[in-house]
Symmetry: C2
Amino acid sequence: MSVATSDPLRRVVLDVAVAISRDEGPDAISLRKVARDAGVSHQAPYHHFGDRAGIFAAIAEEGFSKLSAALIANHNDGISGMCEAYVRFALEHAGHFRVMMRNDLCDLQNYPSAVFQADRAFNLLLEAVTSALGNYATDDDIKTHTAFIWSVGHGLATLLLDGPLEKKLEGIADVNVLISRVARLATASMPR
Amino acid sequence: MSVATSDPLRRVVLDVAVAISRDEGPDAISLRKVARDAGVSHQAPYHHFGDRAGIFAAIAEEGFSKLSAALIANHNDGISGMCEAYVRFALEHAGHFRVMMRNDLCDLQNYPSAVFQADRAFNLLLEAVTSALGNYATDDDIKTHTAFIWSVGHGLATLLLDGPLEKKLEGIADVNVLISRVARLATASMPR
DNA sequence: TTTCATACTAGACACTGTCAAGTATGAATA
DNA sequence: TATTCATACTTGACAGTGTCTAGTATGAAA
């Protein structure tokens, strides 16, 4: 793994860690190995992130920020578009996504700026569902539908990414087609 | 953590590991700690499972077997019932579920008996979807709907288990109610 | 010129999974 | 009865890990 060493170390460490997370999963990240690859001492990365949880929090924060951007970019395509965007984000940013959704790696609670980015992404979904359901929807309805849509996107994303879904359903025309169809099924049950 | 030490070691190790997975996640499982808790040498567990991946495969196999049983028990309630059963299984057997769905912990491919149990559970879902869609459904339709239903169940399960969903949606009447409603939304879009 | 924060390096510690080799025991076999 | 052999361990060593502590170089601020 070679990296442009002219970058400040913080950025290098983050990039290498995300790449390992993408290729081998977050558990394969060894900060000592990252340090070796970057050509610095084994403690250098810890200066920037405090501890192992700190680097996961930084990856998660960056990931949620990117997710918000992806959701906003697909804002005009309605709930179905956001659901699709969520799944595609997960596949395209697997390194970030795997970390974002692993609460055991770091308790985001302790990293307010990460919580801020996560809340921002969640609120985009909540607003989209709220406006899709219309003015007379109850708070309960909004929450139920939000949970439903998020579940569809999150489930499909994790099954495609780390689960056996793609293999089980092999022969299906195309993953991209599958994502679109599933997202459309998800919105088929919603009022219009 | 105290355990009935009269049990054969293999069973003890499995139970302790599943309990740790439930309480702290699979990554917190240290076979040396399990051995200490069981009062045996640090290598004793390896005799039964080969290596760390072996114990995860054993947990996954047991988990998929229990999942099949849970799906069969709810077989009469249709797709919605199976989706509900999936989510409830995940919450009730969090120790198993967390391991089953973590492909990075062990490549199930190398453990044929685990693959057998996983396939069995998957086929139960596939059959339920097939019979729900009726005789004229195309293979593509069946696969798409299977992916959809599995995504809903899997997404809700993982979000409730390790994600921020329960906190985000706090104020919602009851997790059990949420599960039922989401499962019903999932089947609302299916032909009847 | 001194003070001080930043960005590291260096060494040690406890802990981990794994490899290799040894031991006790009970059943099967000659 | 004596030997063989698989089972179920124990013991010791090794490299690798995250983290704690302490030290060092450097450039800006006072």
